[in-house]
Symmetry: D2
Subunit: 416 residues, 4 copies
């Protein structure tokens, strides 16, 4: 319906998403934003959960949907929110992930070293604010957390923001890990505002605890699943090797935008966020990376082609987790086995084949913006105090795991 | 399909439930079991969650469905389970709740004082074993926990039995409290057996923790919701008052079966589980109780009729929860207010109108059959040791809450 | 939240239902309306689909939810609807089924002969209009179809009203017959208004055709399922026999309200809808009927007790459907077999045991309020003209089936 | 679980998919099959339904899951099916779509002219049969329809095959068009075999009619949605133009595999299905095509770069449907307007910017393998005879629509 004031998007997660026409919809239509259609939310996770192909585009729309529900609910409780603030927070939510490149968290530090995706998101917002003549004047301070009414920023970015509410529910839906599902509707209905800070009504505390646990479950079962970690680590190694070869001046198939970032051109001392770099970054997506990896599987460099071929055929490295570091001698044995098994492998490249690292996760961070619980007596307390089940040490305990990756052939060789 | 070896039941929760013809299906068809169609799983909970009208009949079928999935999965892992054992455990699961009367937990001690529903279930099983000429010879020891292979009993009754797996998922479904949903499929797939005890593979630990938390959430959000507690407490008071009047020999509308239990005939020293009592018990269901309450709303006894009218019209008592006991003086004030407000109320009956009590819940009990986790190194440990997030004190902390109930009129009177 | 302007109900079908406080919520709280909590939407259907225990209470709330979505959508397209009209149509939807008694369609003509449930609904509305001092002044003409803006009535009662949209989706959900599910969200979004009549945008035509077919599927698979028909016919026979006995002055267990309707007191020449009759009707629900049937299973009258015992134990009559009438000789054979099999059965009561009747269903009725399709060229046409797949004769073809019911024992006897 | 005889895949649609280890799982692991992870089931449909990103890989696994359910159900009804037949039909189902290239139906005739995807699928099967030493000896005749027991082929390929059952349910799930959902469980339970032909029990006829209508709805609402058609037609034009330029010898960015097919090398007289061509085809997927289109947006050729830029930015052509052909004069006006609007556009390339074509759909084809209904009297009839609602002309009516595509700028220009 061309003249309808509302644009409707289909979403298997929520049914329908309504977007008001105007600046929010104009931003969605911008080619820079459309590019998010080509960036998967969960990178290589679909190698384990084949349904996990959803994009940052869909996630951003979902988060805007949730923030509009939250605004409705808060207003129904008497919280005054102006039309400008509502638009500002919607824009901030919509664009909060603009700075993500392909395989975002995984490749963030390789594609754009020295720059975080939040800085890139902000750079895009400032660019849009110029293009759209100041229409993001409120969205930018809300995103940065400098706007006086803190709850607007907390909706965008905190330990209980609409980003997390959407991604947990969406990732749970598309992976099929139903236990990651959260009651976003109920949590949103429990939101209120006191002293311009976001609070949760006391009776919602069980939903919050469940939300924290759902997030933890999704970390260990999905985001840090050992096969997902293996695929993502291999991707990191591929990009690292490709950049080495590019810097050495070797011939490498790549789209022009990808070549720019591979060559590290203009990247010394970190990415300069000028408009040319931003525009090139906005041309980069999963397709550039994967199309190249497919071609590189036939590259003369042994390390690059072996990694790429394994990635394409889903012959992923074996990855084992443990609570303790990998003993040095165990690593040495595996490295030697790799050199024996792959005659073309050079000793200085053995770390592409055998390596270790750590992952960690925390249920709740005492250092970040806290989750505030509003008691029936109208008092605000941190969730670690309000919970009758959990105390702060339990909630904030950081769990760290060590992992070791190496080609499956080495294990089989070892079994002899 | 009359001659099909399989009988199919529709279930919105699982899609279809397959039941083999033979003794299991014969038991389902028995009038004693069919009676479970008339006993709601969640008593008066539908006053808060209007969809929660599902019955013990459906729950029992669902639990049989889950146990058959569990048996399939265990067998696929090489656990030997004979056809007789499979039938035995299915029967034990099917009948585990046979001993529940109307509004089960709520009225258990009023309708059948001195007898638990487990004892009644066992009495029904023994009755069936006579009727069906020994076909429950294995089911009974499995139910009682005397069969040597413990895991079969643990599937029927433990902290991770198919009873809990089904009721959490089913109650979550029908109440609409999606956060109570659990990944029963995944938990079942993680089950294994070591030394004839049920264990859970280590990678399932997040699902188990989530399951424990989902159960806790369902307790506080559904089973112990303050309005549910109010309705159930009023029901208890109604039955208590009705029995008092019955024993006094006052005229009371009731079906014959209900009259038997109200009059307390043959109940001195507890219910005798002879076949007449069993048969009468098996004629009792939600319909006897509610039909009587509706009539009693017009009974000359002030206390009985007031309670019943409020129940029928859903004018439930106000119910407040707190972490501390209700101060005695507060109770006295309310009692006096009740006597002032209801001129026909006699002082000795004031506890029908103003009363307090406690509810409690524990995430995990160290005293019951434990949840065993099987590590990657094939070692079995209790979940409180295997978890990297929770220790035993956190898991076994008992949470107790005090509640106070009184008619809403008293509050309003107090507001003047 | 006591002072919140919105009351929230949980609904597994839609998640949450929001009800504005004010007259709509006051009506929900009225004991006459609360009674709908005790009337199942689908009567005895749960004997085939054990999950189908949902009530008219929940359905009425669901329909109000859908009408509020429809009003939002229409307003967003520029249709002017005043606050009074919105409230009026919400009330009309809420109360559209007030006139249903227990096992509604089945027992309608037995409990309240000469009166339709629509007339009873209207009587309740007029009663409420007195109680609430004219607050239903708009709801009543909208319900009756005399309000000038026809689309408001069409939302309440037409071939595409919110009643059907809710019951198809709800019945599909609780039976587990997923194929009966309909895209109510999409259909509502396709609604528009032209000349104060409800129309559907052309691109919604596939959804409408699917909706018609889903309804037909639900008829044959659920509402007219042969076992459901059997149970409902047996219920009719039970009530018919009970009334005969009551009129003969025989002793019959019954609640006072049920006794009133059984005795046919004041029912000669049809139900008089005075306030006493209305009040008594409002005390009647599924519990009165089922509690009595359970007791009647032990009544000395052979026909009544046999029917009731079979009903309680779910020993339902065999029911066969065919496209042609049952041959008279076949009926005679079965009747004779019944008399042979049941020595206590009197010949004049044989029709309680062996009987035939018809059921029918039509996809779309050309005589009712039509479904109008709005073309891209802004022209309004009946769906039978707008469809490129179906013509009027196909859409309006009435399908009639004959069924025959008799006790299963007779079939088995015949098999010898 | 490395040694488990079962491999489990997560699937949001069915929960879990179990795959037996052995040849079926070996085929899944083959790089040729893994490539299906990079081919979306619905091409550009995600431009309208952003969730529709699922792949042919997941669909193939889903279809294998359904066929295993169908085999279980048939066996439970006494149909004898050998282990070899079960494996054969599973393989045939798994590989039925192997011959699809990127954006399958859309680009089929451009990438592999003169060859159907069925022929390519067969070529892959024959290749696998060599590699796996005859293990597809039964799968191949089942796929081709030459195996004597016809129902096995009918499960793989007919008007009610597991291909359709899975894709309708899966596409419905991922698009969010819930009305396209079908009761695959129920349809499968209704399957039986008579004279080695697949039949559906009579009581399943409503599910079948609903299935046919769901498929029709999915055609018009999803597969032939006007914006989807626009995107796919633009893709066709892009590839056509790229091939023209390639044949002219112009420089074009492309991966080696894509270059092979673009250049038309060895394609004169149709694709030769030798092992080199097959291997190159198996290296081609969505990534090759989209990465190239992104680069071509900056190509010096006006037609190619304009089309590609519009595609990438989702500035799709306006597409209008009608029941009648587009008048020639209307086309001429639009063509002239295109030439006026785009000064660099050459007259001989105007058909890349303004063009018309047709789409059509039929509910049920009388020429294909029929859907047989098994009556209660054990007679087999075609669905068009068995239905009491639809006759053959209604069911087999072909609906054809004409569409017209052109850049949106031309419409706006015309509005002046």
């Amino acid at each position: 319906v061309p003249n309808s004031p509302i644009k409707i998007f289909n979403d298997p997660v929520y049914g329908f998403i309504h977007l008001p026409r105007g600046i929010v919809f104009d931003l969605v239509e911008h080619p820079y934003f459309q590019r998010l259609r080509r960036i998967k939310q969960l990178g290589m996770t679909h190698y384990v959960y084949p349904g996990a192909l959803h994009t940052r585009f869909h996630h951003a729309l979902g988060a805007v949907h949730l923030v509009s529900l939250a605004l409705d609910s808060l207003r129904s409780k008497g919280v005054k929110i102006s039309e400008e603030e509502a638009e500002g927070v919607s824009i901030a939510v919509l664009l909060h992930d603009m700075g993500h490149g392909p395989f975002s968290h995984t490749l963030e530090h390789i594609i754009a070293p020295g720059t975080t995706h939040e800085e890139l998101s902000l750079a895009f917002m400032e660019h849009f604010n110029e293009v759209y003549k100041g229409k993001l004047d409120l969205a930018i301070p809300i995103f940065k957390g400098t706007y006086p009414r803190k709850f607007l920023h907390q909706l965008v970015s905190s330990q209980l923001d609409v980003d997390r509410l959407d991604y947990l529910r969406r990732d749970s839906f598309y992976t099929g890990v139903v236990e990651g599902n959260i009651g976003s509707d109920r949590i949103i209905k429990m939101m209120d505002v006191r002293d311009d800070e976001l609070v949760i009504e006391a009776k919602g505390i069980y939903s919050i605890e469940k939300f924290l646990l759902a997030r933890r479950l999704m970390y260990w079962q999905v985001y840090l699943h050992k096969t997902v970690v293996s695929a993502e680590q291999m991707l990191v190694k591929i990009l690292k090797r490709a950049r080495e070869l590019a810097i050495q001046g070797q011939e490498l198939f790549a789209t022009p935008a990808f070549r720019f970032f591979l060559s590290g051109e203009g990247l010394d001392g970190g990415l300069k966020l000028n408009s040319k770099v931003l525009d090139t970054f906005a041309r980069l997506d999963d397709f550039d990376v994967m199309a190249s990896i497919k071609v590189w599987a036939h590259h003369p460099d042994f390390t690059l082609s072996t990694l790429c071929q394994k990635m394409i055929d889903r012959h992923l490295y074996k990855c084992t987790f443990s609570n303790d570091p990998v003993p040095a001698e165990h690593l040495d044995v595996l490295r030697q086995r790799a050199l024996d098994h792959f005659p073309r492998l050079k000793p200085e490249e053995v770390d592409y084949f055998v390596f270790e690292d750590t992952v960690d996760n925390t249920l709740y961070s005492a250092d970040s913006i806290k989750i505030n619980i509003l008691s029936d007596q109208n008092e605000v307390r941190d969730i670690s105090e309000a919970s009758d089940q959990y105390d702060l040490p339990t909630l904030t305990r950081q769990v760290t795991k060590y992992f070791l990756c190496y080609p499956k052939e080495l294990r089989e060789a070892g079994a002899r």
